[in-house]
């Protein structure tokens, strides 16, 4: 890092806060962390205490309180804010406030104009359609009116019937939601209103916005992503390949991510998979160029069984699964790519310093999300105490977790139940799968839930799904 005089406030928690701190240290940057009372035992608190000096840690009332975050930034003399993912990561008002206040700071993420333009699923759809990028059929604005919502749903049912779809299905999504939260399927128009009301009420409680999107549910699809990186010039976006995030919970939340998105060298597909990967990458880059995208971001795609891709949305932030793309990427042939460090570096104004030709890919990466939940009961989170957490260190494995391995840990109920990310690298699909199973076999995650029963985890689910990775 050419200019290491910056101090970065890490406005997040858990695993991502740890990775941001590690990236700052790698770049020679100073940092400051925040935490809430519920997170006192979290690994990011310990890391900040151990590596950041006396004033590297502030207790705040909430990670959602912008005043609080900015007050800490001033008190700690931070010059930049890294929002991580969730919380303020895709809040253009926060990004604008950070940069435009009297004591201006750098927002390590896309500029607020870009977040405003792409951060909203609806604007993204409109923009994509204007560029000829295919998008999922459905509403292109948030709907607040029940009659209008029903009318859109009715037309989508009709459209699917005309297309000969076996089981026409409509998705109702909280417009302000994300990460698979606030999404339900409707199979019968007569049931539409009750589901609509449930999602609307949920959206109001969780996101304080009752707008919903109505979309066609594309069945039998794969969920792919394209990782984009672009510096502040916004002129030379590059991609760091594709990911396949099709292994999800029943609530449509990702559990296993694989890079690259398909593996036509070892698996048969009924369409030209390599061409699909090229197409979605080019479409993503075209949209990035159009809006002069200026940080890291993820373009999320649905690929139907016939190979037809549809853009779902753009996540204008670093994703949880950034590490699996980094695991297979090489810059000028070098391993050890760290997309969070790249994000910070370009966020602070450094030029990218390489072109698409300098980026190559090697092998296959699998990321497992280790979660205390019950896959046999609709992936219900299991809250309680982790008593033993360990794994076998391997050169092909990287673990990211905020859960201590040398002390018991009470899982806070205030946040997402993600406990750890295990990223496995292999030279090819079969080796990655083999290593993935080896990792899961040596993983110990024991504890008790709040009722005193053994803590439930998704490790068995991850093991079961490993064999099916990248199969359509």
């Amino acid at each position: 890092m050419q200019n290491s005089s910056h101090k970065v406030l890490v406005a997040n928690r858990g695993e991502i806060a740890i990775r941001i701190v590690q990236a700052c240290r790698m770049l020679g940057l100073d940092f400051v962390c925040v935490y809430t009372a519920e997170d006192e035992q979290s690994g990011h608190v310990r890391l900040a205490k151990e590596t950041g000096g006396e004033k590297s840690l502030y207790r705040v009332s909430s990670y959602h309180d912008a005043n609080e975050i900015l007050a800490v930034a001033d008190a700690a003399q931070a010059t930049a804010i890294h929002p991580g993912y969730g919380f303020f990561a895709e809040d253009f008002r926060f990004a604008r406030r950070v940069t435009q206040r009297e004591r201006g700071l750098i927002f390590i993420g896309p500029s607020w104009r870009v977040i405003r333009e792409l951060g909203d699923k609806i604007n993204t759809k409109r923009l994509a359609r204007s560029l000829g990028v295919p998008t999922v059929p459905g509403s292109d604005k948030p709907i607040y009116d029940e009659m209008e919502a029903e009318e859109v749903a009715r037309s989508l049912f009709e459209f699917q019937k005309q297309c000969g779809t076996e089981q026409p299905t409509v998705l109702i999504k909280a417009s302000a939601g994300g990460g698979g939260m606030g999404i339900e399927e409707v199979y019968d128009i007569d049931l539409f209103r009750s589901v609509y009301r449930r999602i609307r009420n949920y959206a109001l409680r969780q996101f304080k916005d009752e707008g919903v999107l109505i979309e066609q549910r594309i069945r039998d699809f794969n969920h792919l992503e394209v990782q984009i990186v672009s510096d502040r010039s916004g002129q030379n976006p590059v991609h760091f390949g594709t990911r396949n995030c099709s292994i999800q919970s029943t609530g449509l939340q990702k559990r296993v991510e694989v890079a690259p998105g398909f593996d036509p060298s070892s698996l048969p597909y009924s369409f030209d998979a390599a061409q699909v990967l090229t197409d979605i990458t080019e479409h993503s880059l075209a949209l990035a160029r159009e809006v002069r995208y200026d940080n890291v971001g993820t373009w999320e795609w649905i690929v139907a069984r016939n190979g037809r891709p549809f853009l779902m949305e753009v996540n204008t932030r670093i994703q949880v699964e950034n590490g699996v793309s980094a695991a297979i990427a090489r810059i000028r042939g070098k391993r050890g790519v760290n997309l969070i460090a790249e994000q910070i570096r370009i966020g602070l104004g450094e030029p990218l310093g390489y072109t698409q030709e300098d980026i190559t890919f090697e092998g296959l990466g699998i990321e497992y999300r280790i979660i205390a939940e019950d896959p046999t009961n609709r992936f219900t989170p299991s809250s309680g105490r982790i008593e033993r957490f360990s794994w076998k260190e391997e050169p092909w494995l990287s673990m990211h977790t905020h859960v201590p391995t040398d002390a018991a840990y009470d899982i806070p109920t205030e946040f997402d139940p993600n406990l750890a990310l295990g990223i496995v690298w292999g030279e090819n699909l079969s080796q990655a799968q083999e290593r993935g199973m080896d990792f899961l076999d040596h993983l110990t995650l024991d504890g008790v839930d709040s009722a005193g029963a053994p803590l439930k985890t998704n490790v068995g689910f991850l093991r079961e799904k490993t064999a099916r990775i990248l199969q359509f």
């Binding site: 009372a37 009332s61 005043n67 007050a71 989170p381 109920t413 205030e414």
Partner: protein, 216 residues
């Protein structure tokens, strides 16, 4: 059978509680010129529109927030060593000794008399929309519950799940949670009064009203 007289006597022996006033969020704190021993009051008025005694002011992002006494009582300690410093959320600022009011005594006794339906897990709890509507329109006592009635939405880790009431039928006599507040496992959510117990509860209310002397 609840011995109201005994409970009242126990409360009279120690009729106060110590309340620690903490910084609700980060900021630079400035204390008001109040010394230990000063009388303080909590918010009052029909809608709690009259603020309590201001103990300190916390400033952040050019917003000043008065930190008021949450209840009436006597100021017993002020952490003046923090004057002018940037404090973190939850930092103790002052302590007050608060003498229990009739309503608080009633609440304590009712928790012993009512059937308490408790939170199974630490989570945020909401009444289902239909029940919420009824409570807003006519108060919680207008809602009758019975075993198995789907009454709550339990929200934790961003997931929501319905929660059915289990226990004797009756009316919701007391509600112990607020919207968007995390409730620890085992803490009461509602106090239910079976209809057969209503005379006993009315007696509790009457006795507290007549026997408890409020002190300044």
């Amino acid at each position: 059978m609840l011995n109201i007289g005994k409970v009242l006597e126990e409360l009279k022996e120690s009729p106060y509680e110590e309340i620690v006033i903490r910084a609700p969020h980060c900021g630079v704190v400035r204390f008001e010129p109040l010394e230990p021993g000063a009388r303080v009051s909590g918010a009052s008025g029909q809608w709690k529109e009259k603020p309590g005694t201001c103990i300190a002011v916390i400033e952040r992002e050019r917003n000043k927030r008065p930190i008021e006494s949450v209840d009436k009582g006597e100021l017993v300690a002020v952490n003046r060593n923090l004057e002018g410093t940037f404090v973190e959320a939850q930092t103790p600022l002052a302590t007050i000794r608060h003498f229990l009011s009739k309503d608080e005594v009633l609440k304590i006794i009712l928790q012993k008399a009512l059937y308490l339906f408790c939170a199974p897990e630490r989570a945020k709890y909401y009444f289902i929309p239909e029940v919420e509507k009824n409570i807003q329109a006519s108060g919680s006592k207008s809602v009758k519950v019975h075993d198995g009635l789907e009454l709550f939405i339990m929200s934790r880790m961003k997931r929501e799940a319905p929660l059915a009431y289990s226990g004797p039928g009756g009316v919701i006599y007391a509600k112990y949670f607020e919207r968007n507040e995390n409730i620890d496992a085992g803490k009461p959510l509602i106090g239910v009064c079976p209809e057969s117990q209503l005379p006993l509860i009315e007696d509790v209310v009457l006795r507290v009203q007549t026997e408890w002397e409020e002190r300044e």
